[in-house]
Symmetry: C2
């Protein structure tokens, strides 16, 4: 499955057929209704068609437009679909950057094959995104607005017209770029309020697909998400198993900083990847790597050292830590939400505060976010930043 | 979730805006490439738009055509989609019939709300299907071809353009009709070969959505399905749990007829609905009801009485029954496959024959199928058949 026969064309992000838009759209202002709609895209999109007989065709850049999809198409019936969330950032040095785009390429390749959609050479994805940004970047992320970003959504769908339940024979990879609200600026302060899932609603299961970015992980979760929002919560905290293991929050990874009862040392704890229940977030990985590198051995300012612990942990452990005053901070990470503090978790009838007793986060999330921002906006030279060269000006 | 505020319009299948196709398509012959493609639809389709503000709009009948879908649409990213499988049958009395269409309406309503898509009055669905068949039925299922059918696919998708992960604000219900191969006539004899799933691939889980007809149940299952097909098998037999419970086969419900070791009586065993792991099939329910009514108390011809048993059973029990010569017959049921015998199951390295020792099915599946066909093709008056009145001739 997903392997590419030798005679089939591989995905190639170095040659394009380009059709320019002749009617450029207004670029929405930050905070405008267009930006808040999450539905207003830039002038162009990338599409790459795949067929089982010929493999990947030449990528196209074309004016942003609706897709024409047969009512019988696999994606509309069988959820043969997967996606990535990325951002492109305008740096303070005037350059456009992607953040670790090969990790997104690898994950999309994995997700696509998990969906019975075609695989591809993962490092081609960043070239496709870069081409779109060479064309749309200068106008949509102007150099005089450093510190801004666009959300990038690469997607693979099974768009062949065969209604039989079968491995798709045709697919489309498309990439769109969307002005996106900066939640870290617009969100009300105080931190997220999470609603712990109940046993009758489970997001993912061992042997399932919770580790891949399939559409099938999202739609079925919206019912619980909508109910939680109606109760005034921001996200579901997805629990799993009889012992109510903490997995992930909404579409973000979940982190807790607490003081180990035995060692009295501070730990940054998050769910492990091994059991394949959670998404291997790019931001998650980056948080863990930065903390390991910069905070595990030494204090930083007022922040004492922090040990990274990836392990299964339960909502009961969080509740106990809160009762014992051992919680220092909590946050979620993801591309859409970046790094956002968590204020509390409702578990059944119990509200658990994830803030320390003085009500103020210790400052780890702010420090990690600051390090990440320095990288993505080019204040610090770092190989996690991938520069989009040759912008059209 | 899914409840309809009083001021919002409900789905109404009694009024339509109708646009006729001016270029009618050739009706494909049975066994033709067009029919085998599963992608060649009738001349018209039904669409009904829904918005969170206004509810359901007036249903439209229009020429079959591609859908224009925003690249940001929820259905393409988050699998906000569900469907039904139904058929319309041309009877030997010249009438068109649907089979228990309110069961499909109820299930689509359930599936839609499980997907955070809008609910509707379930008994309107059959009116929408009937309208499409009043127009396309006479030409696509001519009265001089009794015993033929079309496959009907009602589908609900979240087609609003909002890319944020949220409950959809717009949706589209559409219904298409597809000439479909008659598997009971074209399939090679000898019965299906099933490949039992391995613990690293789970179709559904408690607290999930295996009981609803969501796209999210299908796409992620295609990888295993494709691997099994490459090994020469027809379908996956989905097992669940440490004890390897038998749930369902491919997209069909699974039945086994065996002799109970203690009572020496024959049992028709199938997985129960209570744990929400399997789809509550309309054909499954009809099989159980027919057997209960016509076979549980008395013999029919050579067929001795049969007790319906809905309970959790394991692949180990099947293997043991086969070793002890207690298996009489096995089959799957579903709209697409109707009632199809099963010849064997491969479980790990073991091939289990589900045929009796003489190699010939006992004839229960054939008898049940014959009863069903009498109902759907109008040989027997029965309230399970819903006649499409007022065909345009």
């Amino acid at each position: 499955m997903g392997s590419i026969a030798p005679q089939m064309a591989e995905l190639d992000g170095s040659h394009f057929n380009i059709t320019r838009s002749t009617t450029l759209r207004d670029v929405p202002l930050p905070g405008s209704p267009e930006e808040l709609s999450h539905s207003y895209c830039t002038d162009h999109m990338v599409t790459v068609r795949w067929t089982v007989g010929n493999g990947w065709e030449t990528p196209e850049v074309k004016p942003y437009q609706n897709l024409s999809i047969a009512p019988t198409a696999s994606v509309l019936h069988y959820a043969t679909e997967c996606f990535e969330g990325m951002k492109v950032y305008r740096g303070y040095d005037g350059k456009l950057r992607l953040f670790r785009p090969d990790l997104n390429g690898q994950r999309l390749n994995n997700s696509s094959q998990r969906s019975s959609l075609p695989g591809f050479k993962y490092d081609e994805l960043k070239k496709l995104v870069a081409k779109l940004m060479q064309i749309d970047g200068p106008r949509w992320l102007p150099k005089d607005r450093p510190g801004s970003f666009l959300y990038i959504r690469p997607t693979v769908i099974g768009n062949g017209p065969h209604l039989g339940v079968q491995v798709p024979k045709e697919a489309l990879l498309f990439i769109i770029a969307v002005p996106w609200p900066d939640f870290t600026k617009t969100r009300k302060t105080g931190g997220l309020r999470l609603f712990a899932s109940t046993p009758d609603t489970i997001r993912a299961w061992p042997g399932g697909f919770g580790y891949a970015k399939l559409g099938a992980n999202y739609g079925p979760s919206l019912l619980a998400h909508g109910k939680a929002q109606a109760l005034g919560f921001d996200q579901i905290l997805w629990l799993f198993g009889d012992d109510r293991q903490v997995t992930e929050a909404g579409a973000s990874n979940f982190f807790l900083i607490w003081r180990n009862k035995e060692t009295q040392k501070l730990e940054l704890v998050t769910a492990p990847l091994e059991n394949q229940l959670i998404l291997p977030g790019v931001t998650r990985r980056s948080v863990l790597e930065l903390v390991n590198e910069r905070l595990s051995k030494k204090a930083v300012g007022n922040l004492e050292p922090l040990e990274v612990v990836e392990r299964t942990f339960t909502i009961g452990e969080i509740e106990q830590a809160a009762q014992e005053g051992r919680i220092v901070e909590s946050f979620v990470s993801g591309t859409a939400y970046f790094i956002t503090p968590v204020a509390m978790i409702r578990n059944n009838e119990t509200d658990i505060s994830t803030l320390p007793e003085n009500g103020e986060p210790a400052g780890y999330a702010a420090q990690i976010k600051s390090w990440m921002e320095a990288i993505i906006y080019g204040k610090e030279a770092h190989d996690w930043g991938y520069v989009v060269e040759n912008e059209e000006n």
